[in-house]
Each structure stands twice: as structure tokens, then as C-alpha cells.
Subunit: 339 residues, 3 copies
């Protein structure tokens, strides 16, 4: 890890350096764990008190906190984003090692850019393409006709089924499965007839997909993930969903078929969506909520219930089976009281 | 994609063709997106109005809608299943390419049918068998003694632990893990002693298993998935479960150990089952419900709570902690009112 | 499977053998399914009645049940743990086959103990190390600098990202992903800036991790799984979590970032934790609960709601949207009643 001075950091990332700008810093750390060689950051005002106790050699903070610290500092309008970029300066992504591993199986009709890296034990199907600067990790399986954009990184063990595409500068984590068959079948005489899933998955640019997440191909039309979407781990996106640009979805969320989620939404972890509904832009959903119908107004929505000590829960939850009777009794009493 | 006429379709699939039966069709599409070369379908009466506006060249519909459209059409008792089969006609599954990839590792004692396809970087253990017409995708790992039935397709990156079996004509999607150890341990002196899981997983015929789903091996007896079961993505089936024939389970559902689910059940997404319970045949469970005890009567069961705008939820949910007090107060008031 | 007598079993595992100790037993089974060649066990008093009907050749039971059976038996203070060890006697883990498969790709700078087994199509990065008696299953990908402790077994298709470590005697099941990037990003101008995740994952000794579970690397500091933790399948552990020693977590649970869970906790399946909270030692959480704040007192906690027939649920759940009004009305009526 190379050392950087405040002067060098602001030269690359902008912002205003205050105080000693020539001392070498060797890493980024939290206010709590930073040492004299580290630069820390203050993005959440509730941690402001830690400025007094931190051992950090420098700190990134917002204009309002400009004078809240005496140590060398960088003032930025968005200290959290600045912190993100500072970490990237100290930890540059290893460069792509262009070339195809001798133990990769690349179909003769596939088109792999000379500046792409193809790892060991990778399989790339007929007519597939991999863009410049892309890196395909070991054990990835790209089906026939798959297209991977420039600068996209697939970590080891990613499967992309035939005909699906991933845009530029995406990051796809290990275990992701893109383009498996949607869950579609028709009932007939007590059994199920498979509906072939002949749509694909189309993923935009700058998308990140977390480990072991699955995105199914469409039945007839495509499943679509727009630019800048960020998906956490172990998420299920069913066939024919559309996830709008710059929406973020936390882990373990399940999205049923043909759900359209707008742009700039923030979906908590463990959320469920029933099928065939539409969520407008700028919606936030609290963790573990079940969304049973379309949402047409931006805002925050919730359906979780508070946890309690189990004994208390036993006493309370039993009444959920009788809410209707309780409500009826209250109505009746109110009526009587009004008499 | 080959062109097909209505005449050719009904010759293969049955049903009654009405109107022009000789025009070439090149694909299947929804009523909304179909063009003149497509055949569409009407399976849900709520979309009947779209018959008037669709640009489809032909349509599949039920006997009751026989005269609801003027365009060339196929009348079928089950238009949705007919649609499924029509898609399959237009998109035949690529034939198995019999043979073992030179970069597969097949144990000398394994028995691979000459008409099976074994992909690149596959590992097949001692005493395993792969039936005729089966296809094992790249990077699959089949343990010792695994048996794969005729016509079954494993997509890339499926793991089947030693001793487990999959029937005929199954489809197993990428990332599936069959036969990992069930979650069993005995507490001793504050730590946990592993209980070796020495049962297996037995999967019937015509089963489909979605991406990244996991099915654990039994502790002593086997975990069993019966014929015709369809499992979506990211489902957890714990040790010693039995899933009855033709039951379908949507994504992200978790089934605890020793749960028996009947035949012809429909389980929503994100559902949880506590262990050691029994669900009878023909039960439907709504998404994200928690099933805490056995169900002995067919029907639909639910435990989800409705979502609300967050501010509204805050006002309402707080009372869940005091339902018992509210109910007691209502009882008291009712008693007083009766005086 | 070798035959063992009661005499041989108690010689290896301790406990008291009662009755005929020289008859050969060939396996372990439940009281219900055992035959004369099997040894069964009684760990849960509710099954005591089955002692009268079992066909088992012998049984493991607790001191209180010493005389509840006439058949040959082993009396142990902890019959369930004794059963676990007995199964292990009958089903010893196949020994590690030391050596590196010719189709593995091991970096020249990696250090693989001569007594470790490296499977087919494994990739091991620069500077990685694998301890004595460890077994790395086929298709595993170990990044640069990964450390695997002695006696640890990775089943096929496990990914460990660079810089992460796994202790001794761990079991990691197929599909597990350790060290993928945590879900961290900073908002800027309506889009998201990735926060590089430069912490690692550190896993202690005697940890078991279920199939397709994911454990993300820390943002700056490490994600930590302490000794003896047991994780089931399809669990998500987000960045910077700490899971205390000997805690067990059931499948499909999702743990948000920077959650600290104490020692000796038991977490049910499908549970969700919001981020940045702390759970003390010896806490039990019921399945599918959502934990929204720190827990400082040992005990059992729950937030699930009881399931009902759907029609009944429809009648009751609607009132959840109006609990505040109901509570207010009850308060009002109580006030009036007190007048």
C-alpha cells in the first residue's frame, strides 16, 4: 500500500485540505480504530464527539465540521462519497491481466477482447462476447450468445445462461446465476406443464450483483436491470421484473414475477413482493415487509411487526386471531356510549 | 426459429384451428407485444379486452372465447397449457450432444450412458451413474454413488453430494446443492457435537429445482422430493423433509427439518415452516407466512401483515405490544356495559 | 460399514453398557425405523413410549431411563451427544487423500501442506496456505493470501475471496461464498459510489457453514465468525458482523451490517436483523422474527404472527391498519366508564 499525503489526495479527488498537507498517510480507518498513519472520516454527525478522541492522522469531514477538529483534514461537501474514493486511492483494484487462461474453454466463435482476462476453468459459449478490460473469474460459465460489457468483472463461479447480457463496468459476485428459467408452468390434470422461458436477462451499466443472487430470464419478454442498480447477496429476481436505474436492494429480498420497481428506490433486506405489481420511483421499503399491491406515491412503507420477549408475545399474538371480534366489540361499545 | 402454421401446430398439439390455418407464424408473444408473425394466447379472462387491440397473427383461447376474436385461432380446453407447449414447439430444447468432454473427470467406476452429455470441468465420482439422454453442465460435481436418471438436465455448477439420486426428466438449475449435511448437532458442555448426516436425498421424476436452491441430506433416513415437484430459486429444504408429488414452492421459502408437505400443494415465496410438522394435500400458503403447526385441512392459509406508509405503521404497530391489555380492557368494558 | 458391539462402543465413547454387550450392530437408526441390527437412541422423553415397540437391537438412553427398556442399552448422561458420536463411529469420514489433483491450479507461491488434499479444478492464489489434513473440494476458488486451517474440509464449489482466513477443523459446504464485497456505497448526485471493501473475513476453529451461505468481507475492519459457530444454509452475514462463539443460526436468516451477536445464541430460520445492533450472549430468537434493536438481556424473543385460514386472516388483518384508532377508542371508553 503506497503512502499518500493530503496534498496528493486533494489533487486527485478535489476538496479542501486544511492544516499539514505533506505528512504521509498509509490507510483509511474509522475514527475509533485509526492510528496516526490513517485518515478517518466523519459522515454521520452522531459520531462528531469521536473527533476529540480519535488517534487518526487526518480526517475527512463536511463544511459544517470544518473547525470541529484541529488535526489535518479534508473538507468535502459529501464526506461519505469522498471517503469511498479515498479508500479506492489506497486500495486500487488490481489491473486486469489480459489473456485467456490455458485451462479455459472458449468457443471458437466467441469474441473475447484482447484486453480482457479469462480465468482458469472458464467456459464461454458460441457467439458470446467479452469486452475490453473485462475480467471473467475462474469457474464462470457463460452460455452461447452471452455479452459482457467493457470493464465488467465477474468474480469466480458466476453462471450466465445463453442469450443474456451484462453492461459495462458491472461487478458480479461469486455464485450469481443470471438467466435461469423463470418459474412458470401451467396446470394440467393435476400435474404441471413447463412453460419454456425464452426471454433473456438484460443488465445495464454500473450494476453490482451480490453473492449467490439469482435473476431469472423472462418468459417471453426480457427481465431488465437498469443502469446503476445495486443488488446485495441472496436476492431472488423472478422472470420479467424490471428494476429501475439506481435502485438499491438489500440481501435476502424476493421479487415475484413481472414486478416493476422504479428508479432510485431503496428496498430493505428480506422484503417480499407479490407478482405483477408496480412500485413508483423514490420508494423506500423497510426490511422484511411484504408488498402486496402497487405503490404509486414516493415515501417509506413498512409491514414488519415489533419483536418482544417470547412470553409477552404469546400473550399478545393470540389476540391477532380475534382482532375482528375485538374491533366489533369496540364499535358496539362506542355505539352504546353514544346513546 | 422455424416458421409454423396453425395447421402444423394443431397437428402436433391437438385443439381446433379456426380461420386461416396456412399462414406462417414465427413465434409466441403476449397479446400486448405480439406482431403479425406471432401467435398470442388468452388464458386469463381479465385480458379479454386485449383481443380487440392485439396485432397478433393468431391466438390461443378457450372454448368460451371461441368467437371473441376474428383472427385465426386455436381453441383449447386449457389455453395456458397449450401456450406452454406452443412455446416449446417454437423453441425446442437443443439436443444433447452425447459424449464426455475431454476436460471432465469421470471416475473409472462410474457408469455414463453413451447417449449422455458430460460438460467441461465436470467431476463424477466412483460408482456414480448418468442415464441416457442426460446432460451434465459444466463445473458440476457429482459425488460417489450419485445416480442421475435418463433425460435429466443439470445446468452448470450443480453439486450433488455422495449417495443422492435424481430421477428422470428433471431440470436442475445452476448453483443448486443437493445432499449437503443437514443442520444437526447435539449440545454438550456449551459447545456443539456434529451429528453425522448419513441419510441421502432422493428426488423423483419430472422435478425442477431453481437456481441456488439447497436440499439437505437426511440425518438417518432420506430427504425425499416426490415426482413432479417444482421448486423455485433460493429455497432451503432441510434434512428429512418429504415434499409430496406435484407440489410447487416459490422462491426464498425455508422448510425446517422433518417437515412433510403433501401432494398438490402451492407454497408461496418467502414462507417459513417450523420443524416436525405435517401439511396435508391440496394446501395453499400465502407468501411470507410462517407455518407453526401442522395443517390437516385443505385450503389457503396466511400470516402476513398488510404494509402501510411508515408513519401510519409507527402509530399502529406500537399497539401490538399491548394487544393483551387492549383485549382485557374491551372485555372489562363489555362486562360493565352488560351490567 | 463395520459391525460394532456395545462393548466396543463404550470402550471408545464411554457410558455404561447394560445387558448383552457382545452382539454385533451394523448401524444407527431411529426407534421407529431400527431393525435388530441397529442401535437406536432416546433423547426426547416424549418418544419414551416407542421403547416398547421398537425393533432396535440396542438403545442409547439417559440415566433416568436406565430401566425403561429391557433390551441391551447404553446409559449416557447426554444420550443425544452420545448418539452423534455413535453415528460417527459407524460412518467414519473418508480419510483425506493427500496430494494435489493434476487439474488443480495452485500458485507457485502458495503453501499447501503435504498432508492436504486439493481436488480437481481447484484454483489457489498467490501466498495462500492450506493446512495439514485439510481437504479442498473440486471447483473451489481460494483467492490470494487465503489461509485454510488444519483439518478443515471445503466441499466442492466454495469461493473464498483474497485475504480471508478459515480456522482449523471447519466444514464449509458447497456454494458458500466467503469474503465477497460488503454492500456499501455512498450516494452522490442520485447515483451510488462504491465503497471499496478492504476488510476481510476471519473464521475461527470448528465452524460449520451451510450450503450457499454468504459471508461478506468488512468495509475497513474484518467480519468475524468465532470458534464453534454453526451456520445453516442460505444465510447472509453482512460486512463487519461479529458472530460469537458457539452460536447457531438456522437457514435463510439475514444479518445486516455491523451486527454483533453474542456467544451461545440460538437464532431461528428466516430471522432478520437490522444493522448496527448488538445481541448479548445466550439469546434465542424465534424463526422469522425481525430484530430491530439491540437485546441486552438473555432470553427468547419473537415477532412472528400466527397463521390462519385465509378468510379468517382477511377479516382480522384489516384491523391492523386501524389499531391506533381502536386503541384510542378503548382509552376513550375506559375514561368514560371511569367517570
Amino acid at each position: 500500500m503506497a503512502a499518500l499525503t493530503l496534498r496528493e489526495i486533494v489533487a486527485k479527488l478535489g476538496g479542501e485540505a486544511v492544516g499539514e498537507v505533506g505528512a504521509p498517510l498509509t490507510g483509511v480507518a474509522t475514527l475509533d480504530s485509526a492510528g496516526p498513519g490513517d485518515i478517518a472520516f466523519l459522515a454521520n454527525p452522531k459520531y462528531r464527539g469521536r473527533l476529540a478522541t480519535t488517534r487518526a492522522g487526518a480526517v475527512i469531514l463536511g463544511p459544517g465540521d470544518r473547525d470541529a477538529a484541529a488535526m489535518p483534514r479534508i473538507v468535502s461537501d459529501n464526506p461519505y462519497a469522498y471517503y469511498a474514493r479515498t479508500v479506492a486511492l489506497f486500495h486500487p483494484i488490481p489491473p486486469v491481466r489480459a489473456g485467456i487462461h490455458p485451462f479455459a474453454q472458449v468457443d471458437a466463435s466467441a469474441s473475447v477482447d484482447a484486453a480482457a482476462e479469462i480465468g482458469a476453468f472458464v467456459v464461454i459459449g458460441a457467439g458470446a462476447s467479452v469486452g475490453a478490460g473485462a475480467a471473467i473469474g475462474s469457474h464462470c460459465a457463460l452460455g452461447d450468445g452471452v455479452a459482457i460489457g467493457a470493464g465488467t468483472r465477474l468474480h469466480p463461479r458466476v453462471t450466465i445462461y445463453p442469450g443474456c447480457s451484462v453492461g459495462a463496468r458491472c461487478i458480479v459476485h461469486s455464485g450469481v446465476v443470471i438467466g435461469a428459467d423463470g418459474f412458470g408452468m401451467a396446470r394440467e390434470a393435476g400435474a404441471w406443464v413447463k412453460i419454456p422461458q425464452v426471454g433473456a436477462v438484460r443488465i445495464g451499466d454500473d450494476v453490482e450483483i451480490g453473492a449467490n443472487t439469482t435473476i431469472d430470464r423472462g418468459a417471453l419478454d426480457d427481465t431488465v436491470i437498469e443502469d446503476g442498480v445495486k443488488l446485495d447477496n441472496l436476492i431472488q429476481v423472478a422472470h420479467n421484473c424490471v428494476i429501475g436505474a439506481h435502485t438499491v436492494i438489500a440481501g435476502c429480498t424476493g421479487i415475484s414475477g413481472s414486478v416493476t420497481i422504479g428508479r432510485h428506490c431503496m428496498i430493505g433486506g428480506g422484503v417480499g413482493f407479490v407478482g405483477h405489481i408496480e412500485i413508483c420511483d423514490h420508494v423506500t421499503i423497510s426490511g422484511m415487509s411484504l408488498i402486496t399491491k402497487s405503490i404509486t406515491k414516493p415515501g417509506t412503507y413498512t409491514s414488519a411487526i415489533p419483536f418482544m420477549p417470547h412470553a409477552e408475545w404469546l400473550r399478545n399474538a393470540v389476540h391477532l386471531r380475534h382482532l375482528d371480534a375485538i374491533a366489533a366489540e369496540v364499535r358496539k361499545l362506542s355505539g352504546e356510549a353514544d346513546d
